[in-house]
């Protein structure tokens, strides 16, 4: 295993380990973190594996410095990540906005647990679904992926690095303790079969005065440090050249809109969902671990001859409004399943309610995956 970046093979592997291996396969060179349940295995694995391939893992004094130090390293051209859980994300939020504001590629894994506050660290609850998008102050767009299996912990982590590099934006993996601690078959492909993306940088030797390194909706080349670009990188309102402007409101408007439009313009390329609702009257909308129960319930319902389909959100941010609308236009009834009190439900309802009856099926007990039998009961209810 020593020295190999990609551990090609078939494994019975924990989700968190698969996530760390996905990072290695994606080319991660630097990671930093702070111990926290239920995400710690990712950091432990990176601490062991990164030095084997010439990388570095640092255990920091807190999560604030974890995100700060990976952002710093990203500005030197490295592919970087950090992994934590809800309380750690809460601490990271200010610098998350910084990373958005100066367009820094980085991957942030949240293995979610039971909140609020210290809650129940080992419980698998997708408790922070809106936090990446609305947690830091100000308007901004971000990318977040929702894995439902250890295999996806590997694959989504690779995708997260690719998206971060392509769009110069922090990309979240919104896992939870279910998926993070689950052990299942994980297939790691050969390195040639894993496509990787690297950020664009300006041509070395370009006149620093002429480098437009920011605020391009088609993603400006990143004027990384150490190449003679003499980059002025400030998260305060700035223009395409990075020049600060703290007095002109139209400059602020431009700053905010360009950052958001950079993601929204490419939404079609970014958003991934799994559709299985051909001819269905009832569609179960879910994501992450709960989608496994939804798929099982849909399969059983179909066996009974009930017209049931599923829509699984893989990308939850930017929010897949168009996908929800398309689905709702075809369905009659939409049931939203989440293992929380309905964090994405209002967003889904806002798109779907004009075209279908939308209802929410909360978990019987928060942190307990819905029993497919309960879901079936709900399906029969809405079909009555």
């Amino acid at each position: 295993m020593k020295g190999k970046r990609v551990l090609t093979g078939k494994y019975f592997m924990m989700g968190n380990i698969a996530c760390a291996e996905g990072a290695l396969a994606a080319g991660c060179e630097f990671a930093a973190g702070y111990p926290i349940t239920p995400a710690t295995e990712i950091a432990n694995r990176l601490a062991e594996r990164l030095p084997q391939v010439g990388g570095v893992f640092l255990q920091m004094e807190d999560e604030i410095s974890s995100i700060a130090t990976i952002i710093g390293a990203s500005w030197t051209g490295k592919k970087v990540m950090t992994a934590t859980s809800g309380p750690g994300i809460s601490l990271m939020l200010e610098s998350l906005g910084f990373a958005v504001g100066v367009e820094t590629p980085c991957v942030i894994v949240n293995v979610q647990r039971g909140g609020p506050t210290t809650g129940m660290p080992t419980a698998g609850v997708p408790a922070d679904m809106v936090q990446p998008k609305r947690g830091s102050h100000g308007d901004y767009e971000i990318i977040a992926l929702c894995p439902a299996s250890p295999q996806e912990m590997f694959e989504h982590t690779v995708q997260a690095f690719n998206l971060a590099e392509a769009y110069r934006v922090p990309v979240f993996i919104l896992a939870d303790a279910f998926v993070g601690h689950m052990r299942e078959e994980v297939v790691i492909p050969e390195p040639e079969k894993i496509s990787l993306v690297y950020r664009k940088i300006p041509d070395v030797g370009t006149d620093p005065q002429k480098i437009k390194g920011f605020l391009d909706v088609d993603v400006a080349p990143m004027p990384i440090f150490g190449k003679g670009f003499r980059s002025h990188v400030t998260s305060s309102c700035h223009d395409e050249y990075g020049k600060r402007n703290l007095s002109d409101l139209t400059a602020l408007d431009h700053f905010i809109r360009q950052l958001s439009n950079k993601i929204l313009k490419h939404k079609e390329d970014i958003v991934k969902v799994e559709r299985d609702y051909e001819g269905a009257e009832v569609v179960l909308v879910s994501y992450g671990a709960v989608s496994r129960a939804a798929q099982m319930a849909a399969a059983r319902a179909r066996e009974e001859g009930l017209p049931v389909g599923t829509l699984r959100l893989i990308t939850v941010w930017p929010f897949p409004e168009e996908e929800i609308e398309t689905m709702a236009r075809r369905a009659k009834k939409v049931i939203v399943l989440e293992n929380n009190l309905g964090q994405l439900y209002p967003f889904i309802k806002a798109e779907a309610a004009a075209h279908a009856d939308v209802s929410f099926l909360p978990p019987r007990v928060i942190g307990e995956i819905q029993d497919p039998e309960n879901i079936l009961q709900k399906i029969r209810e809405v079909l009555k």
Binding site: L58, T69, G72, F225, G226, R230
Partner: protein, 277 residues
């Protein structure tokens, strides 16, 4: 007729035509000391990456110096700088920030990176006040001083930041005032060459938010006071704690050797890859 150009103008970002510092601010003295040190060492700013937090002193390199600079969140510049140093170990990384940024909101990163002994230079402009936000008390404000946030006088003891950083394990720690521009330049030169965490505290005047509001006088009066109160560290060693009350101990307070973190990481990597260290 040829134009007369300041010898350090080559280090100023081309589009910068004016300073945001208030008249009498000590930032200019510190900025000149940094640039003189770089120049006298025969280095260029391309050998450096500068990192700053939030506060007036964060604006010294951002945008004035023509250099790679990351202007970060409040209190965190040292944490960002750590990642930059790991990514670009061949570059010199310098942080300029204030007492509020480094000793209040960012205190944790200051002590932990002093402990790690990561090679970088941290220059702390200590004006004993929150200048940018209008003169609130800082952890460095003397006990009893009236400020806008302590209208009846502060009731908290103040920090000796240099002593804090020494205790945390930094391998080079010095303190000067803005009255000691030449000594400061010489010390910055040593700090840049030091393989370890270097911390330089610069006692500096904020004539607007400190001098005017607390009755300490103009910039000149404040610098005059620094001159009178300062005592060299080797002279201070002969005096008792009582006798040193109200004095500013200046000079190179600590210079020592300790394992530097990036060198330790490289040793670890070699061990892991089976190479002989």
């Amino acid at each position: 007729m040829s134009e007369i150009v300041h010898p350090l103008h080559k280090f100023i970002r081309p589009y910068v035509t004016s300073t945001t510092n208030c008249p009498g601010c000590g930032n200019g003295i510190a900025a000149q000391a940094i640039l003189r040190a770089v120049d006298e060492l025969g280095m260029t700013l391309d050998d450096f990456v500068f990192v700053t937090g939030i506060g007036c002193s964060a604006w010294i390199p951002s945008p004035f110096f023509d250099v790679d600079v990351l202007h970060t969140t409040h209190g965190r510049p040292i944490a960002f700088a750590l990642g930059i140093k790991v990514g670009l170990p061949e570059k010199k990384v310098m942080v300029t920030s204030g007492d509020g940024d480094l000793a209040a909101i960012g205190g944790n990163h200051l002590i932990h990176n002093a402990r790690r002994n990561v090679e970088m230079v941290v220059i702390c402009l200590n004006n004993g006040i929150y200048g940018m936000t209008g003169g609130q008390a800082a952890p460095t404000t003397p006990l009893g001083l009236k400020t806008v946030s302590t209208p009846y006088g502060t009731f908290e003891n103040s920090f000796d930041i240099s002593e804090l950083v020494i205790a945390a394990g930094a391998t080079f720690v010095a303190r000067w005032t803005t009255h000691h521009a030449r000594q400061l330049t010489a010390t910055i030169k040593k700090a840049i060459q030091k393989k370890g965490f270097s911390f330089i505290e610069v006692i500096t005047q904020c004539p607007v938010q400190y001098g005017k509001k607390t009755g300490s006088g103009s910039a000149v009066q404040m610098m005059q006071e620094y001159k009178e109160k300062s005592i060299l560290v080797k002279e201070a060693a002969k005096l008792s704690k009582e006798e040193l009350r109200g004095r500013i101990v200046v000079g190179e307070l600590v210079e020592r050797e300790a394992p530097e973190m990036l060198e330790e990481i490289n040793k670890m990597k070699k061990k892991v890859s089976g190479e002989k260290a």
